[in-house]
């Protein structure tokens, strides 16, 4: 498994934005950021150090200092033209498409998905079960990894079924068995399961 701490934090050896983002959570990345900030402040404190200016240059340098302040103002006042729509919606009001049916998930009490040891155990148990199923039918290309049946009642229309299913190829299954998640480009699991990044973070911790 690729160790997160071995990833380059400034871009070297980081081939995707995802890997770069993961590398930002490492201690070396945080330390490097702190040092960079300190260096910038240190350099600013030495502004005009040892510079001997003629009367003409004094005016020129003053103009340049005022320009620097104007640049800061420009950035602080740079307005974005946002579309007239909300930037975000509460997850509780977000419709999710499930097999052609709009599904409104029930309100969650937890703020974000937390990765726990239980997730890890659950994922291993599923992998074992799937390994057994694969042994019984080795010709099968894809296997159900996780399957959730959803019952919905909508007004007078009665009860309808939806289904949220995650399938894995044999290769995907091997990856899950090996617990070598960084090799998975995108592992999309239902909300109660951790995402790839969270799994990697959990394993690294």
């Amino acid at each position: 498994m690729t160790e997160i701490s071995s990833l380059g934090i400034g871009g070297a050896g980081v081939d995707t934005l995802e890997r770069w983002a993961l590398a930002q959570f490492t201690a070396p990345a945080r330390m490097q950021r702190a040092q960079r900030k300190e260096r910038i402040h240190e350099e600013l404190s030495q502004l005009l150090f040892g510079v001997d200016l003629s009367p003409g240059e004094l005016r020129l340098y003053r103009a340049r200092l005022l320009e620097a302040i104007a640049r800061v103002d420009d950035l602080e006042r740079a307005e974005l033209f946002l579309p007239e729509r909300n930037l975000s919606v509460p997850r509780a009001r977000m419709m999710m498409p499930v097999s052609g049916i709009g599904w409104l998930p029930s309100e969650q009490t937890t703020r974000t998905v937390e990765v726990s040891a239980a997730h890890e155990v659950h994922s291993r148990n599923l992998a074992k079960t799937l390994q057994t199923a694969l042994a019984l039918n080795p010709k099968s290309v894809h296997r159900d990894f996780h399957c959730v049946g959803i019952v919905m009642a909508r007004g007078g229309e009665g009860v309808r079924w939806g289904e949220d299913k995650v399938q894995l190829s044999q290769w995907g299954l091997s990856v899950v068995n090996a617990q070598d998640y960084p090799k998975v480009a995108k592992l999309r699991l239902p909300p109660r399961f951790p995402s790839q990044a969270e799994m990697v973070q959990f394993r690294a911790g």
Binding site: L17, L66, E79, V89
Partner: protein, 121 residues
Amino acid sequence: MTVEEFLYQSADRLREGEYLVPEVVLESIDQARERLEEMCEHLESDPSPSGLEPLDAAMFEAYGLFLEALDLLELAVEEDLPGLASEILVRTQDGVETLREVRRRAGFHNDSLQEEVGAIG
């Protein structure tokens, strides 16, 4: 809404567990990137004279921090990773502090030079 406000608000909402609307956020990220890249190019084409280079370096650092925060925000929206909110906030805050320092130092030296110009007449 300014670039700074956009980054703070987006990261706050991510942290609060809200779902950022990709159509709105990604378009704004593109706009913000464009503005920052224009500012970078402008500064590159008109560098400060000897002795004032640290001002340019600090401005590039601030632009870079905001651009990194935008990259992280884009990833958080596209891959639905609310855990990146803290990193977005850290970069935005560092960028804001760097800008404040540039203003403070430039203002201080401007006042000093003004006094010298006054003394010379």
